[in-house]
Each structure stands twice: as structure tokens, then as C-alpha cells.
């Protein structure tokens, strides 16, 4: 048996019967489908709805959190960077204001000031004083930069306007990344001078390196043109080109998205005021979303398990309930059918009894008249010797006897309908029923064999029912056999309380799968040959009513063997009428 047939409910293949004349009230497949769809919808819809809402809300909350964290990180770091520069600028301002131009032009004084700056702030590498013509006339530091003229450099021209200059990072003469902070000091005679200091970038590189960036992220300074100003974890060293586009200017800290080689990124940035720098924090979105992805996986797994559970329960419960309805309906139809069949048989019985009775009277007259003719012939010598005449009369009497047998059987058929228990010789019943089928057996050259033990007792049973049982079994055997088949009936005792009658034929046999269903009402293999599918079902019912049981063995192509076990004593102590003569 395949898994499919185990799982398939009984009602599934029921359509062919429903289409027949005895309709079931319901279309079971449709009921089952509606039940499954409706219950599944009612159970699953709220679950899916809530899951979808929860999914969206959680995802949005996590994205908002990422946005907020990034914005805060960038904003804090920018403050630190701004503070770094304003601190150094203020230091230079203070030196300007605390010293006269003449004092600053003294290399000894300038050296002392550079030493103080190095000690107080750190990061200062050199210090120089430039006059209004752009000439650096005093310089203290590790290189020989005294006497250089900056007048034709852009930053010097800008400085004249703005008063302060913070340069981009560059390698300069020393091939060391550094930047320059310069402040302009106006003199009373409309002239001015500039105090210029080089600052080692190591100081703010360290500042950025200390910042912890979540999501496998990176934080760095970049120029507006996209040149890295500090080393980055993923995009190369200072002065390398950033492979990302620098976002447009904004006064406030912003968070936006970007893609690098199809990898989605979260980019936070802020323009650092009064500097050419843009602070950028770049995080990998996949890394940031990892906790959410884990949660999401759990959510989806939970959802999948819940849905499978609900669907299984819905399928199971629906199938069970529809099967119950199906079985109840099946029983209803079978009962209805049995009643209809009983009614039909009753009508048929009354009809045949009436016909038999009507025919019996004229038949009796023919019988008597022919009998009288024979009597007369035998009384008179002339005719007594005429064997031909006597033979003719005997032929009439023989025919009357045959007709009488037929009418008796018709009357017997009517009698089936009245349930009554009586002493029955089962072997006699079998012979009687075979007598009904004698002609057909003769035409089709069947061999009929009855083998009964001599010790078979008469049993308390219903003669009519027994006749019907054996008639059905024999009819089935006849239908199954080819011409020339053999029908064998054996009757044996089966223990003290039962007898067993076995009916075996040499017919086409019944397949194993059909064998389980042959006693079901409406099950017929004689499709299109007028089989009602009720014969064996009724036989089964009758045998049960008589307190017996029936079993079947069959081999396809070899034949079938039905064994009917019947109790010797009837179970109920109901009416027990005898047909033997009663004396007055």
C-alpha cells in the first residue's frame, strides 16, 4: 500500500458514486476544501498580519537606531576635531598677542615659544613668522625654511582675507604628512604679519583611531575633493583617493546611504567648520543589521513552525470531521437503499404470490381433468392397453407438476419477506436454490457439486434468508465463471455450535485491493453489466442478521471461495413456527 493510499481519506474517491442515482447529500471534497481553506485563513491571517507588522516595526526601529548612533558618533567626533583645531589656533593667537612683532622675529624667543607649544599641546613641529610680503624671515624647526617666500601661494592670499588658515594635509619638503595652521596679526600701521605653525597629523590620527566605530566601520577625514586626510581602515592611507563620493555640503551632521561594490553602506558625515575637512564615518549595513538578521531568522523559523503546525492541525481535523460526515452519510444511504430494496422485494413477493395463487386453481383443474382421463382410460380395456394415450396424459400430468413447482417457488419467494426462525435443512436449501439456477447451469455447462457431511444437523434459521444468501453467492459465482466452470459447495460442521458452508468457483477471482471492499454497499466490479453493488452487501447483512459470519478467499484467474458460518441454534428465542403438519 502506497503512502498516498494511506493518507488519502475514504471520501476522496467518492465522486463516481455521488454521480449515481442514489446521491449523497454532500460533495465531500468541496466541504473538505472549504473547511481547510476557511479554518486555515482564520488561523493564519492574524498570525501573518502580526508577524508582518512586527517585522516592519522591528526593522524600522533598528534602522532608526543605526541612523541615530551614526549621527551621534559623527557629531561627537566633529566636536573633538573642531576643538583640536580651535585649541591650536587659540594658542597661536595667544602667542601673537603676548609677543611683539620684534620679539617674535627673534629666533631665540621663537624657539622658546615652540618648546612651550610642544610641551603644552603637542603636535607642533615648527614655527615661523612671515611678513606682509610673504617672506618667512624667522623660522625655527627641523628644516631650513627661513627666507622662503609664500606670497604667490593661494593659501597666503586667502589668509589676507580670512585671517586664519588651516591647510589640507600635505607631504611638504619633509615628505611627512602634516598640515599648517597660520594666523594673521594686524599691525597699527596697516601692515600685518603671519604666525605659521606646522602640525604633525599623528596627533589627530590618534584622535580618530581611538574612536570606536560599530558595524565594521571606519571614521576618517577627507577633503571636499575626496582625498583622504587620515589613514582609513578600508580605503587606504592619508592622501589616497577615497573610492566614495564626498556628500554635498551640509551645516549639520547627516546620515545617508551609499554602495561600494554592491555592498550597502551607512555613511555619516559632517563638514568641519573653518577647515577644508569633511569627517566621514562609513559602516557596513550588513554588519549593523546582523543582530536584526539573527532575530529575523528566528522570527521566520518560529513563523514557519507555527504555520506548519496550524496547517497540519487544520488538515487533520478537517479530514477527520469530513470523514465522520462521510461515514454517517454513507450509512444513511446504505440504510435507505436497504429499505428500498426490501420494499421492492416485498412488492415483488406480493405480486408473485398473487400470480402463483391465481395460476394454481386452473392448474388444479387441469390436473384433475387429466387425472380423470387417465382414470377413465385405465378403467376401459380399449384404452388401457393404448400406451400412447396413457403416455400423453402422463405428459400433461408431468407438465402440471412442473408448473406446480414453479408456483411453489414463487410462493416461497414471497415467504422470504417474512422473517421467521424454523428448523432448516441447509443442504436441502442449497439444492433448492441450485434448482432455480439449474437451467442456466445446464446451458453454460457448469459442473455443480454439493458435498455435505452426513452429520449436518438441521439448523434454526430463516429459510427465506438462507435462500437469498445462497442465491446471491451462486449468482455471483455464475457471473464470474466462463462456460464449463465448476461450482462446488461443501457443508461441514464448524465446532459444536456452527456449521460452515463453502461456495467455491473457478471464476476470474477478485484482486486483493477489491477483496477488502466487496462487502461495501455500491462496490461493484460488474461495471456496466448491471451490477448494483448491493448483492454481497445484502448477503453480508443477512448473514449477520442470522448470527453468522462470512469470509472470502480469492486468487485472480483461479477462483473465489466464500465461507458462510451459521449458528446451529438461533440467537433470539423468537417465534418458531413449524411447517410440518399439525394435528387437531
Amino acid at each position: 500500500m502506497s503512502y498516498r493510499s494511506i493518507l488519502k481519506p475514504a471520501f476522496w474517491d467518492h465522486e463516481d458514486v455521488a454521480a449515481g442515482p442514489h446521491k449523497h447529500l454532500f460533495n465531500f471534497r468541496r466541504i473538505w476544501r472549504s473547511a481547510v481553506i476557511l479554518t486555515a485563513m482564520v488561523a493564519l491571517a492574524p498570525l501573518l498580519f502580526m508577524a508582518a507588522i512586527d517585522y516592519n516595526v522591528s526593522q524600522k526601529a533598528i534602522e532608526a537606531d543605526i541612523h541615530y548612533q551614526t549621527a551621534r558618533l559623527v557629531s561627537n567626533t566633529r566636536r573633538s576635531i573642531s576643538f583640536f583645531f580651535s585649541e591650536r589656533k587659540s594658542a597661536l593667537d595667544f602667542i601673537d598677542k603676548d609677543n611683539t612683532y620684534a620679539a617674535l622675529s627673534d629666533p631665540l624667543r621663537l624657539t622658546a615659544l615652540l618648546d612651550n607649544l610642544k610641551k603644552g599641546f603637542g603636535g607642533f613641529t615648527d614655527l615661523g613668522v612671515i611678513d606682509a610680503r610673504g617672506l618667512q624671515h624667522t623660522y625655527v624647526g627641523p628644516y631650513d625654511l627661513a627666507g622662503i617666500n609664500y606670497n604667490d601661494q593661494d593659501w597666503f592670499q586667502d589668509l589676507k582675507e580670512s585671517g586664519v588658515h588651516i591647510s589640507e594635509v600635505f607631504l611638504g619638503f619633509r615628505q611627512q604628512p602634516h598640515l599648517v595652521v597660520a594666523v594673521k596679526h594686524n599691525l597699527p600701521d596697516d601692515g600685518f604679519y603671519v604666525l605659521r605653525a606646522s602640525i604633525d597629523t599623528q596627533k589627530f590620527n590618534d584622535l580618530l583611531r581611538e574612536v570606536e566605530v560599530s558595524g565594521e566601520g571606519d571614521i576618517f577625514l577627507v577633503t571636499r575633493e575626496g582625498v583622504l586626510q587620515t589613514p582609513s581602515r578600508f580605503f587606504g592611507n592619508a592622501l589616497d583617493r577615497l573610492p566614495l563620493e564626498v556628500p554635498a555640503f551640509s551645516e549639520k551632521t547627516q546620515v545617508t546611504g551609499a554602495h561600494l561594490q554592491a555592498e550597502p553602506l551607512v555613511v555619516g558625515y559632517a563638514y568641519v567648520q573653518e577647515t577644508p575637512f569633511v569627517l566621514m564615518a562609513v559602516k557596513k549595513k550588513s554588519a549593523l543589521m546582523k543582530p536584526w538578521n539573527d532575530t529575523r531568522r528566528q522570527l521566520i523559523a518560529f513563523l514557519a513552525v507555527s504555520i506548519s503546525g496550524i496547517v497540519l492541525v487544520v488538515l487533520g481535523v478537517s479530514t477527520f470531521l469530513v470523514n465522520q460526515i462521510f461515514e454517517a452519510d454513507h450509512k444513511r444511504v446504505a440504510a435507505l437503499h436497504k429499505v428500498e430494496y426490501a420494499n421492492k422485494m416485498a412488492s415483488l413477493g406480493r405480486l408473485s404470490a398473487g400470480v402463483a395463487h391465481e395460476i394454481n386453481n386452473p392448474l388444479a383443474i387441469i390436473n384433475e381433468k387429466a387425472g380423470l382421463i387417465k382414470d377413465l382410460f385405465q378403467l376401459q380395456r380399449t384404452y388401457a392397453a393404448d400406451s400412447r394415450l396413457v403416455g400423453l396424459v402422463d405428459a400433461i400430468l408431468y407438465s402440471v407438476e412442473r408448473c406446480a413447482k414453479i408456483t411453489k417457488r414463487l410462493l416461497g419467494f414471497a415467504r422470504h419477506l417474512e422473517s421467521k426462525t424454523q428448523s432448516v435443512d441447509i443442504v436441502e436449501v442449497i439444492h433448492e436454490v441450485l434448482g432455480f439456477l439449474g437451467k442456466e447451469a445446464e446451458y453454460r455447462s457448469f459442473t455443480l457439486a454439493v458435498d455435505a457431511e452426513s452429520t449436518i444437523p438441521t439448523i434454526e434459521s430463516d429459510r427465506g434468508r438462507l435462500q437469498e444468501i445462497f442465491l446471491n453467492l451462486f449468482n455471483n459465482a455464475f457471473a464470474a465463471m466462463e462456460d464449463g466452470g465448476r461450482l462446488a459447495i461443501t457443508v461441514r460442521r464448524a465446532g459444536a455450535d456452527f456449521i460452515a458452508a463453502t461456495v467455491s468457483d473457478t471464476g476470474c477471482g477478485i484482486s486483493e485491493s477489491d477483496l477488502k471492499r466487496i462487502f461495501e454497499p455500491f462496490f461493484s466490479t460488474k461495471t456496466g453489466k448491471g451490477g448494483t453493488g448491493l448483492g454481497l452487501s445484502i448477503t453480508y447483512g443477512l448473514i449477520q442478521e442470522l448470527g453468522g459470519s462470512v469470509s472470502v478467499r480469492s486468487e485472480v484467474g483461479k477462483g473465489t471461495e466464500f465461507t458462510v458460518r451459521l449458528p446451529v441454534k438461533a440467537k433470539s428465542s423468537g417465534e418458531n413456527k413449524s411447517e410440518s403438519p399439525v394435528s387437531g
Binding site: 404470490a353 402463483a356 395463487h357 394454481n360 386453481n361 392448474l363 388444479a364 383443474i365 387441469i366 390436473n367 384433475e368 381433468k369 387425472g371 380423470l372 382414470d375 377413465l376 378403467l379 402440471v400 407438476e401 406446480a404 411453489k408 410462493l411 416461497g412 414471497a414 415467504r415 417474512e418 421467521k420 413456527k577 411447517e579 403438519p581 399439525v582 394435528s583 387437531g584
Partner: protein, 119 residues
């Protein structure tokens, strides 16, 4: 022995009476219950063969009436409806000696009548 045959089929009773006469019985016949009772008032019979189903008065009732007139009489019932349960019940109630199903076998009928008379 005197036998009274009662059946609404005249052809049947007359022929049967003749056949019994041939076999040495003194057979009379009637085609209704009334006629049968009239005959019984006129003369006595040893045995009666009655059809169960007759118009107006059926065989069972007729038997009771005849028994009232002639208590020693024996009875045989004949029916065209051999298996009727009503008949069986009736037969056991009124105490019919025997019943036979039509069409009759004359030898069997005689055997039954002899059997009944010997009781």
C-alpha cells in the same frame, strides 16, 4: 367412506369427486359453505376436504361450523396459497388434520385421508 369436497371451483370438485368415486369413495361435493352445511344437515360424512379460500365463508370458519354439527368429522385443507402464514396460524388454531397444496396428487390425497380417518 363418505367424503364431502368443498371448493368454489365447480370443475375441480366435480372431477375430483368422480376420481374418488372411481377409487371406491362415496364422494359428494359442494361449491360454497352454505351448500356444504345444507348437505351436512341432510346426511353425515366421515371426512371433509375444504378449500381454505372461498367467497363469504372461508374454509376455517366452515370447519368450525361443520364440527359443531358433526364433531367426529375429520378435515383436510386444500389451498392454492401453500405458504400463507395466516393459513398456518388458522390451521393450528382450528386443528386441521392436514393441509395440501394445489394442484393435488390424488394418491397423496387418499393417503392423507386414510391417515386422518385412522386417528
Amino acid at each position: 367412506m363418505k367424503v364431502l369436497l368443498v371448493d368454489d371451483e365447480k370443475e375441480l370438485v366435480t372431477t375430483l369427486a368422480e376420481r374418488l368415486s372411481i377409487r371406491g369413495w362415496e364422494a359428494q361435493w359442494a361449491t360454497s359453505a352454505e351448500e356444504a352445511l345444507d348437505r351436512l344437515h341432510a346426511e353425515s360424512f366421515d371426512i371433509a376436504v375444504l378449500d381454505v379460500k372461498m367467497p363469504r365463508v372461508d374454509g376455517l370458519l366452515l370447519k368450525k361450523k361443520m364440527q359443531a354439527i358433526c364433531p367426529a368429522m375429520k378435515f383436510i385443507f386444500v389451498t392454492g396459497h401453500g405458504s400463507s402464514r395466516d393459513f398456518q396460524t388458522g390451521a393450528s388454531e382450528v386443528g386441521a388434520d392436514y393441509y395440501l397444496v394445489k394442484p393435488l396428487n390424488i394418491d397423496k390425497l387418499i393417503a392423507k385421508m386414510n391417515e386422518a380417518l385412522q386417528r
